[in-house]
Structures are given as C-alpha cells and as structure tokens.
C-alpha cells in the first residue's frame, strides 16, 4: 500500500533522527569527563583506584552505546529508503 509505506518510511526516519540525537547526546554528557577529575591528582588509595577504573569504564560503555545507536539509526534510514523505492516501483494506483 503506497500510502502506508510512505507513513512507515517516515516513521523510521523519525526514529532514526531521534536515535542519532540520543547518540550525540551520550557522546557529550558530563559524566564522560568525570574520570579527569578522579585521578591521582585528586585522591589515591584502593577505593580511589576503583572509582577511577569505574569512571573510565563508563566512558567506554557510553561510547559503545552511542555507536550502537548510530548504527541503528543508519539501519532505519536504509529501511525507509528501501520502502520508498519499492513504493516508486509499484507506482501510484
């Protein structure tokens, strides 16, 4: 159904836009920089070392999540394009 296909493609593009925005946000949150303030210039000892390790782990986790969101956004865009292409090939009724 051309009309339905068009709506579906638009919805996918909308979701892709939001996911891309979320990824961008995750890449810029303040918590990513916290490890800079938690190193041996600030405190030392077993617990501080664990805290430092944890904050560096957060950095890696959020970066990976942001990458995954971006990939998913690209998949949605591609799907939307395929839907539009199929719609053009079948033509208006």
């Amino acid at each position: 159904m051309p009309l339905t296909s068009s709506v579906e493609a638009a919805q996918l593009r909308q979701r892709a836009t939001k996911l891309r925005a979320l990824a961008q946000r995750l890449n810029g949150v303040r918590v990513l920089d916290c490890y800079r303030a938690a190193g041996t210039d600030t405190w030392v000892g077993p617990s501080p070392q664990r805290c430092d390790d944890a904050l560096r782990g957060i950095l890696a986790t959020l970066r990976a999540d942001a990458d995954a969101l971006s990939r998913q956004a690209r998949r949605f865009d591609r799907l939307a394009d395929e839907i539009d292409q199929r719609s053009r090939l079948t033509g208006p009724h």
Binding site: K18, V29, D33, T40, W43, G45, P46, A54, I58, D65
Partner: protein, 618 residues
C-alpha cells in the same frame, strides 16, 4: 586497613562534577525500544554514581569537616606499607584517612608502585633488612609489580636506589644466607626484566653483564651474582655471564680487594661465593656446561679458585667434557688446560683455597680423563698436542691415587669414550688400545721409578680395567682370559710384591718387565679371541692349534720372575707365536698370519719396554 589520601579541594570538585553528571543523566529519556540498551546503561551508571561514589566522597569530606583535622598516622614515613600515603601526605600535604570501603586489596596500583619506588630511595635499608615482616610485604609488592610491565615502569620511574639497596641486601645475604633476601632480588629483577629486549635472557654466548643488569658503579660481584640468578636467564646465557663475572671476581681476589664473599685475610667466609650461586644454574644444561668448560680453558682458575664448594666446578666440567655432550676437540681443549692447571700441586697456589672444603680433586681428574684415554695416545690425533705433552698431562691425572681408584672403578665411562672413538673389530682399534696400554704402563714404570716405595697395584689394575673394556672392540671380540683370568690377579699381586725394592735401577727394570708381561698377556688373549673368531667363521678348522699361551701360572710366578736373569715374556712369546703362525692356512706370509701379527703388534713390539726387555734378555 587500607588508607586513602586526597586533596580536599579537588575531591570536592569531583563531587560537584559527579552530581552535575548524574543530574544530566536523569534528563535523558526516550521511549524508543531501539534505545533500550543504551538507556539501561545510563540508569546503571547513574545508580553507581549515586549509590557508591557520591556517598563515599561525601563521607570522606564530611569526616574531615567534622573533626576539623585530618587523620594522620604517626607511623607514616617509617612504614613501607604506607608508602603511597606517606608520599602524598609528606610530599604534597594531602589529607589522609582510612579508606571508608576498607578494601583488603592484594593488588598494587600504578600510584602505589611509583610511591614504593620513591619510598625505597629514602628508606633506612639497614633497618628494613632486619624487619622481616616488612621485608615479606616488600617482596610480595615487588613480585606483584614485576608481573605487570606497566606497574614495573611506574616503579622504575621513581626508583633510583639500586646501588644502596643491592649493596645492603647483598651483604646481608652473604653474611646470613637469607632466603627472604633472595626473594627481594627476585622481585627487583623481575621488575628490571621489563626494561630488557624480549630475547635478552636467551642471547646465550652474546650476553654481557652491562647489557643485562642495572648500571651500578663498582658493583660487588656477589651482588651481580645475586642479580643474575634472579634474572633467570637460560643456562647458556648464564654460562656466558658467569664467565665474565668470575673473571672479574678472580681479578679482585688476586688484588686482595674486598668482596662480600671474600672478606679478606682476617675473616673467613664459609658461605656461598658468587660462583656457588651461579654454577648451579648450568648443571641441568649440558650445552651450558660445554660452553663454560670451553671458556674456562683460557683460565681454569675461574673454576677452581672461585668456589666454596669445588664439587660444583667438577660437575660442570664432567658434564661439559662428557662425550655424550661434546666433541673430542672441544673436550680436549678443556681437559688439557685443566690437567695443565693441576700439573702444579694446586695447594701450592695462593688462590686454591676452598674455605675449609676438603677439595679432593683426584677423583675428579680420574673421571674427567676416563672417556678420553685414547686421545692421549700417539696413534690418536684428535687433540692438538705433542705426544710428550699428552703423556705428561695424563700422568698428572694418574699421579693421584684417588684418580687411579676412580679410573679403575669407572670402566663404564672408559667404555663410553672407546665407543666414541673406536670402530669395532678394526685393527686400528687394536692399535689404539695397544698404544694406550703401552702409555699407561710406561707411565706406571716412570711412577714406580719416581717413587720406589709405590707398591700399590692401582696402575696394573687400571690396565686390566682398560683391557677388559677395550677388548670388546678388538678383532675377535672380548678377551675372556684377561677379563676373568685368575692367573692375572695372582701375577699382579706377585709382581707388586717383587717390585717393592729400594733400588731405582732395579725397580725400573722390574717394572718394565711387569709392563712387558702385562702387554704380552693382553696380546695373547687378543690372539685367542681372534682365533675363536676364525673358527666360528670357518677360516680355520676347529682342530687347528690355538695360539700359544703365555707361560706364567700362579705357581710359576714366584719361581719364574727373578730379578736380573734376562727373562723376557714378550720375546719368548714372540718365538712361540712365530712358530704357531707358520702352520696357519697360507703360511707365515698369508693373510691370516699377517692379521694375527698386526694384532699382536698392537700390544707388544712398539714400546720402549720391549727394547729394554730385549736388552735384558740379551
């Protein structure tokens, strides 16, 4: 209890930063299921900060604020365990308090590794060496750091006390042989290993101390030995380093210089020397023993004047010159040099003291030459030495009673040497064996003349040992008669009794006659073996007369061995032999006759004894 040091202002900033970060995370929302995983991460992160790290930081900051003073241990600065905290408190004026989470960590952080390195630079190492509990802790820390290249780099970035630390600990080890000091060296060198190229500990013959050890001016060789041992190089590398180290050790010793393990004339060191630490590293690797034996050929004192326990050097040389591990020329280089070293009574050498160890070297020399007896003979050209020098050096080994006893008992080692050198059942083998018997007997004659009272029958016993072993290689196979002949035992005993007379000229003549008789017996038995082989091969009939026997029996010996009557066993036997071989198929000029003549000629007919004997016989 774990301690925690911090900069209050920076920690407060971290707290503010984390609060802002979690506030921000709370604003992140989405309902798209495709973002569920990311949102789960966000929630987890927010919870961890809210429930773990912010409460911890708040507690630390409030604790200081409540007391208005920062907790400070009076022991800080004296206890290595708190070195990290000490560095932060004393060096930076930070606050210190117990870690609220009180982790019982066994690991080491990069900061702790750096701090430990710095603290060791200023530690009272003498006090530390006597504090066994702290040493145990230090050893554990060093080993933990040493397992991690990054931690090791952090430690070494601050640690620059190699000279002091290794000097004090090395001296303590030399005096008290403490295993806990060894573990400290293990830890330090494990850390140091990370600064070396990957193959540094396996470079073998190319190894140098400078390339492998931390640079320390005028380092004591004993300290170097401890460091090399703790580096755990492969055995060939250890052998190369050992030679370099002991060369310097010996130079210091000869210069009456102080080393930990050679404290000087007024003090007697009884513990391990540097060499005692190093040589055990080689013993399980024959190639390393071969290499050190070869190196030591240039200066055998390296092996015999550096050890507290000379047995270690003996084991290295015996392994390094064993036919199973090396070639004849390589073994010859070491064997000849070592015999040359022992040519002078080693106890007359200033350096040959063994810290009270008995240092009996006779058995060692006997074992060392056992597999190489043939290489001392004229007919063997394996070793680049004149016949005279070879004979003189073999005499060095045979001069010692214990060496003789070892050789007699070591028939298997002699057999191994023969196996390496001789082709079985070859006339050339008979020639070499005959040459060896001649050499041994000539040495025996000389020895008896040099010491009229030498009445022991060790040298004749050695002869029987050699004959017994060698006969397996002779044409005709094993010598049954010699190996098991009761007459021979009686003969040697009676001859010794007879030879025990205080007259040098008489002794020489008698000893030469004994030699002539012994060689004749061996030759006759070899002929018997050859004859048995001919019969077995069908080359002569079974009814064909056997080769003549030497006309000496237990009954005849005391009667038939007079002092100066011209009795000459080999001459008499030759007459009988010539008669016998005329009747061989082909006659006296036939192939069998020539073969028999060659075999007998290997035993009698070449030595000075025969000519002497011929003179006696007129």
């Amino acid at each position: 209890m774990a301690l925690l040091a911090y900069d209050p202002e920076r920690l407060a900033y971290l707290k503010t930063h984390l609060i802002a970060a979690t506030d921000e995370l709370r604003t992140i929302r989405t309902t798209d299921p495709a973002a569920a995983e990311a949102m789960q991460s966000v929630a987890t992160i927010r919870n961890e900060i809210d429930q773990v790290w912010l409460p911890l930081i708040t507690r630390i900051l409030e604790s200081a604020a409540l007391t208005d003073t920062w907790w400070f241990s009076p022991d800080i600065g004296e206890n290595l365990q708190d070195s990290l905290v000490a560095v932060m408190a004393n060096g930076y004026g930070w606050s210190v308090q117990p870690d609220p989470l009180n982790y019982q960590r066994t690991g080491v952080t990069a900061a702790e590794a750096r701090a430990l390195g710095a603290m060791l630079n200023q530690a009272d190492v003498l006090a530390l060496a006597s504090d066994r509990e702290q040493l145990r802790w230090l050893a554990q820390q060093l080993l933990t750091i040493g397992q991690d290249p990054s931690l090791s780099a952090n430690f070494l970035a601050n640690f620059d006390s190699w000279p002091t630390l290794t000097y004090v600990f090395g001296q303590e080890h030399a005096q008290n042989d403490r295993p806990d000091i060894t573990v400290i060296f293990d830890g330090l060198m494990m850390i140091w290993t990370h600064t070396l190229p990957p193959d540094a500990l396996t470079v073998g013959k190319l190894a140098t101390l400078d390339a492998l050890l931390p640079p320390i001016d005028d380092v004591d060789p004993y300290v170097q030995a401890l460091m090399v041992r703790s580096l755990h190089p492969d055995a060939l590398t250890a052998a190369t380093l050992t030679f370099e180290l002991l060369t310097r050790w010996l130079a210091l010793k000869n210069d009456w210089r102080f080393t930990f393990d050679r404290p000087g004339r007024l003090r007697t060191g009884t513990g391990q020397n540097a060499a005692d630490l190093l040589l055990p590293l080689l013993l399980n690797d024959p190639a390393a023993c071969v290499w050190l034996s070869k190196l030591a050929a240039s200066n055998p004192a390296i092996l015999f004047e550096t050890l507290n326990d000379p047995e270690l050097a003996y084991q290295v040389v015996l392994t390094g010159t064993d036919p199973a591990n090396t070639t004849s020329p390589a073994a010859g280089q070491a064997v000849l040099a070592i015999l040359d070293y022992f040519r002078i009574n080693p106890y007359t050498r200033a350096g040959f003291d063994t810290d009270g160890h008995p240092g009996d070297y006779g058995q060692f020399l006997g074992s060392m030459v056992a597999p190489w007896l043939l290489q001392f003979t004229m007919g063997n050209n394996d070793w680049p030495a004149t016949d005279g020098r070879k004979a003189a050096l073999l005499r060095v080994a045979l001069h010692d009673e214990q060496a003789m006893a070892r050789l007699i008992a070591d028939a298997e080692r002699i057999r191994v040497g023969f196996t390496q050198t001789l082709s079985t059942y070859d006339i050339a083998a008979a020639n070499q064996v005959g040459g060896l018997l001649n050499l041994l007997l000539q040495l025996s004659v000389n020895e008896r003349v040099a010491d009229e009272m030498a009445s022991d029958d060790d040298r004749l016993n050695l002869l029987w040992t050699v004959v017994g072993v060698a006969s397996a290689f002779l044409p005709g196979g094993p010598l049954v008669g010699i190996a098991s002949g009761i007459a021979l035992t009686t003969i040697s005993s009676k001859l010794n009794e007879y030879l025990d007379q205080p007259d040098p000229t008489g002794v020489r003549r008698s000893a030469e006659r004994a030699m002539d008789l012994a060689l004749t017996l061996a030759g006759a038995d070899a002929l018997s073996g050859l004859h048995r082989q001919w019969v077995a091969d069908g080359r002569v009939r079974a009814s064909h007369p056997q080769p003549p026997a030497v006309q000496v029996t237990a009954v005849q010996v005391p009667v038939d061995v007079p002092g100066d009557d011209g009795w000459c066993p080999s001459a008499e036997y030759h007459d009988d032999f010539d008669q016998w071989r005329r009747d061989l198929p082909g006659g006296i000029n036939g192939g069998l006759s020539r073969q028999a003549n060659d075999l007998l000629g290997a035993f009698i007919g070449t030595s000075a004894a025969q000519s002497n004997c011929a003179e006696i016989a007129g």
